[in-house]
């Protein structure tokens, strides 16, 4: 449920974890600093010994979530071979697995990103663009090799990215009956369907 960067102890990390759970459940403006502090077992004033403001706590979670996600994409792509099919499967699997494994972090990083000021949100937008670029590069390479065929690259990228993001919202309720590796394989199949060259009759 939580990446390793959030599992250690200490007051600061307990505050981050409490903020993560509450922001995911009630949203940024629906959560008070007293809610966060109480869930972390401290007084509200203590929060300001670790974060300059409520927004800074959110910003840290958002950036942390985007970093974790992007790192997993890069790792997966590095482990994949040179086959475009394998590379696309690796990217989509990492994308979906990240959202299924850390749904709260993914929800906060995506949905509550809009509550940040432009300056605080900038690092997350950079990571977002890099992740999308990763996917675009893999698909573009497949197109040049003649194994993929895409009508509208931008819309296809958005569609694949969005499919995975939504997993964070519904997978937690289905976790008992749907294994993550099965989920990742299914979404890999869907992504391949979206980009594969229609097989012409030989």
């Amino acid at each position: 449920m939580l990446p390793s960067s959030l599992t250690a102890d200490g007051t600061r990390l307990r505050l981050l974890r409490a903020g993560l759970e509450l922001f995911a459940a009630r949203g940024y403006h629906g959560t008070s600093i007293r809610d966060i502090a109480t869930a972390a077992g401290v007084q509200s004033a203590t929060l300001y010994g670790h974060f300059a403001s409520k927004e800074e706590l959110l910003a840290e979670l958002v950036v942390l979530g985007h970093e974790e996600h992007h790192r997993r994409l890069v790792d997966a792509l590095m482990d994949a071979g040179s086959d475009p099919d394998d590379q696309l499967r690796a990217l989509v699997s990492a994308h979906v697995a990240s959202h299924a494994t850390f749904p709260m972090l993914a929800t906060v990083a995506n949905a509550e990103l809009a509550r940040l000021s432009a300056a605080a949100a900038a690092p997350a937008h950079v990571l977002r663009a890099k992740s999308i670029d990763l996917l675009g590069t893999v698909i573009g390479r497949g197109v040049r090799q003649g194994v993929f065929a895409v009508d509208n690259m931008e819309i296809t990228l958005t569609a694949i990215a969005t499919m995975g993001i939504s997993v964070a919202a519904w997978y937690p309720a289905r976790a008992a009956e749907l294994r993550i590796d099965v989920l990742c394989r299914s979404f890999g199949d869907l992504a391949l369907r979206l980009v594969q060259m229609p097989s012409t009759s030989p």
Copy 2:
């Protein structure tokens, strides 16, 4: 930008429109009663002459958005013929067009639905299930006719629905360079790719 049910005048509709714009931009908890009233040109107390509470105003927008969306899906399906391809294209086009044409209403109806109590959210969830069922029926019929082939129906339905929902978030910024009918055609293509039977060599 607004469905006909929100374009008339009168204080009540001005409040609904103001709430829609502000909820879409800042979220439910990020918008105050005074924000809404000021944007509608009245005092905050006036709002309570038309709505029992802030939540009831949101609930009305959420239900209204879901009704508008579902009605468009049904209309589109009724106008389509009996060909599964055409039916799927009609459904996806209506789905995408609805989110591209009324992005604020779609955003509020989807994102802020989570801020409603279970009772207030129930009607929206019913409409949601009916819309998904519509899509599932069309695809299931295509599968029985042998023109569609789906590995995991539930995941495929979620993927198609989600692709369209995300349009509300990014299309407004691209409206100048991307016509809605082109957008709908592209998403229709993608949806067909997701469900079409892989062509076997004849």
